[in-house]
């Protein structure tokens, strides 16, 4: 649906390019989780995709009509207008008319549960409701690609889940989505593909399930350092473990081995800071892959 090839951009006066040779193909019905530390190039990539910036090199090729839905982090609506007036304004600007307009309005209002707030001025909505309105304006536009940039900042848990459900609904309808957020559990929930940027380059572009691994494992971490006797225990139990700075990750183990480790932990003077059995979270993987960069 969308193809980026050798995409590059350098801000005026900057010594380093903000993006340097990005290659990416995005399919319909795919949700790309865009990750990276501050300055990695996420915002620049979104700016290029949305047409706010023009690439200095490379190209963006749309294989479908270029129609873009946009949910920026800023509350991009008019506080002095009512919810329905904001939606009507953007419906007009999106060129929606007649039955299509009605359908799009009803759908985005229902998706963001704003039915009871239509007559209220946006400035009088709660923080979560304002986020939902911002979301609704983005969803209102019939588009092939939707960009979500920190779209759930400061919303309560219920509103957040509503919005994440809306993103998943778009993907289920065959729309492409690029989702960037510092709440990595959100990205983990909605994205099926992870793109990690570092210093303007793609560091990792991988299927989420492949990244997280299907096999559950045991994750152990101590506040300072793992007990000295831990390696000996793991060797005694015949377990292959991947060592982390303050602990270990054990890919597979049986119940007896798990019980032995549990008894070992109980005998230690210091309790672990992390004890988790299951798949690693995206956040744990991100921190490992990103090397703790800010």
């Amino acid at each position: 649906m969308l193809e980026l090839s050798h995409l590059a951009y350098r801000y005026p006066g900057a010594t380093q390019p903000a993006l340097n040779g990005i290659d990416l193909q995005l399919q319909a019905g795919q949700c790309l989780g865009l990750l990276g530390s501050n300055g990695a190039g996420k915002t620049t990539l979104l700016s290029l995709l949305s047409g706010v910036l023009q690439p200095l090199d490379g190209q963006i090729v749309w294989h479908v009509e270029r129609r873009l839905g946009l949910v920026p982090q800023q509350l991009a609506f008019y506080a002095g207008l009512k919810v329905k007036e904001n939606l009507a304004l953007f419906a007009d600007l999106y060129g929606l008319r007649g039955a299509e307009r009605r359908h799009c309005m009803e759908r985005c209002i229902a998706t963001t549960a704003l039915q009871d707030k239509l007559e209220r001025r946006a400035e009088r909505l709660s923080g979560g409701e304002q986020r939902r309105l911002n979301f609704a304006i983005g969803l209102l536009q019939p588009a092939e690609l939707y960009l979500f940039d920190e779209a759930t900042v400061g919303v309560d848990a219920a509103s957040r889940q509503l919005l994440l459900d809306a993103v998943q609904q778009l993907v289920a309808e065959g729309k492409a989505v690029i989702y960037t957020s510092h709440y990595l559990d959100e990205v983990e929930q909605v994205a099926d593909r992870i793109l990690l940027l570092h210093e303007g380059r793609v560091q990792l572009d991988i299927d989420k399930h492949q990244l997280l691994g299907e096999q559950p494992g045991l994750f152990l971490e101590w506040p300072e350092q793992a007990p000295d006797a831990l390696p000996a225990l793991l060797a005694e139990l015949g377990l292959n473990a991947e060592h982390t700075p303050n602990g270990v990750r054990i890919a597979t183990l049986d119940v007896e081995q798990l019980l032995a480790i549990t008894r070992f932990i109980a005998a230690q003077p210091q309790t672990p800071s992390l004890l988790r059995f299951g798949r690693p979270s995206l956040e744990q993987l991100y921190l490992r892959l990103n090397g703790g960069r800010l």
Partner: protein, 395 residues
Amino acid sequence: MRLRALVRKETLLLLRDPHALAVLFLMPTLFLVIMAGAMSSYLQDRPPPLQLVLEAPQHSESSRFFHAALQAQLPDSQLREDGPIQMARVSLPADFDQRLLDTPHQGPTLSFPAQFDRLSRQRLHAAVTIALAQTRLRAYLQDSGALEEGLTPAEQLELIQQRTESQIDERERLASGDLSAQANATQMSVPAWLIFGMFFVVLPMAGSFQREQQSGALLRFRCLGLGLGTLAASKMLPYLAINLVQFVVLLSIGVYGLPLVGLPALALNGSLPAYALLAASIALATSSLGLLLAALARSSEQALLLGGGINIILAAIGGIMVPKSVMPEAMRQLAEVSPMSWALDAFLSLLVGHGSLNEVAPGCARLLLFAAVAGISGLFLFHKRVQQTQWTTHY
């Protein structure tokens, strides 16, 4: 469709902004009424009556003649024989009669309380000078035997007035330019504060653009590929309309509102098409300036300071706050750089000079030229500002 939606949005936001409405309607109305009242004794068609004490120790024929001659010069004023110290006083010397034909002549003494304004002092001084000259002429005619015997004091005064007064024709040669010296308080205040209020559209206009950029709405517009012309027109059209509404409302307050508070009503002299041309020219000038300020300011606070500051300076030098007629020549020259001054001159050409399209055309041409320069500069900078709108993320 897009332009209509944006204009509707801008209009709704403006109508729901009580601060903007107060700045655009309430502030100029208050200024208009207060300043018309404040200047009513200074700038008026008929000077106010004076309260005077005339001290004449001799109670002679000449001093009675002087009293009648002075009263004739100040027909509405009250001349009393005695009164409190706060009243202006004309004191004839004890030997008034004996010294009337002296050369040089020592006239009466004038004493003014501190609050007696300068214009009234000048008026009283002139009236005393004329009355004294007439009294001395009477004494001269009497002394030389040229004054007919048997005339009553009133007949003597009429005779002296006939001898001393000449017919002077007054013709207005200019119906345009600075007519502030001829304007009364209503004719001065209404157009001055109307123009001032119209220029204040730059504040909500620039402020709304800043909020639009800061909120991210402009980012959505950029992504939609909205054209510069559509964006700029959507900003200017609602404020042009508001300016025209201000023009009608504030003029109506001058015509119908001022008499309710005891001030003279504004007479809409001159031709109606000239008013229409003037209103359109001012509105174009203000909305173009608003576009320029919207593009120049970097925040709502900056827009407020920049717009308010520029307006007050333009008003101060442009004869809005102080009539140009009381300014020194250098300040009058400086006033020529203010578009508010051009608008006010054109307005006074209608209200005072009973002018037509021809008389307001020079002022309107300058305003339209100003609108073109400010508008083109504003469009250029506005385009740059829109282009600089980036996708920003705040963590």
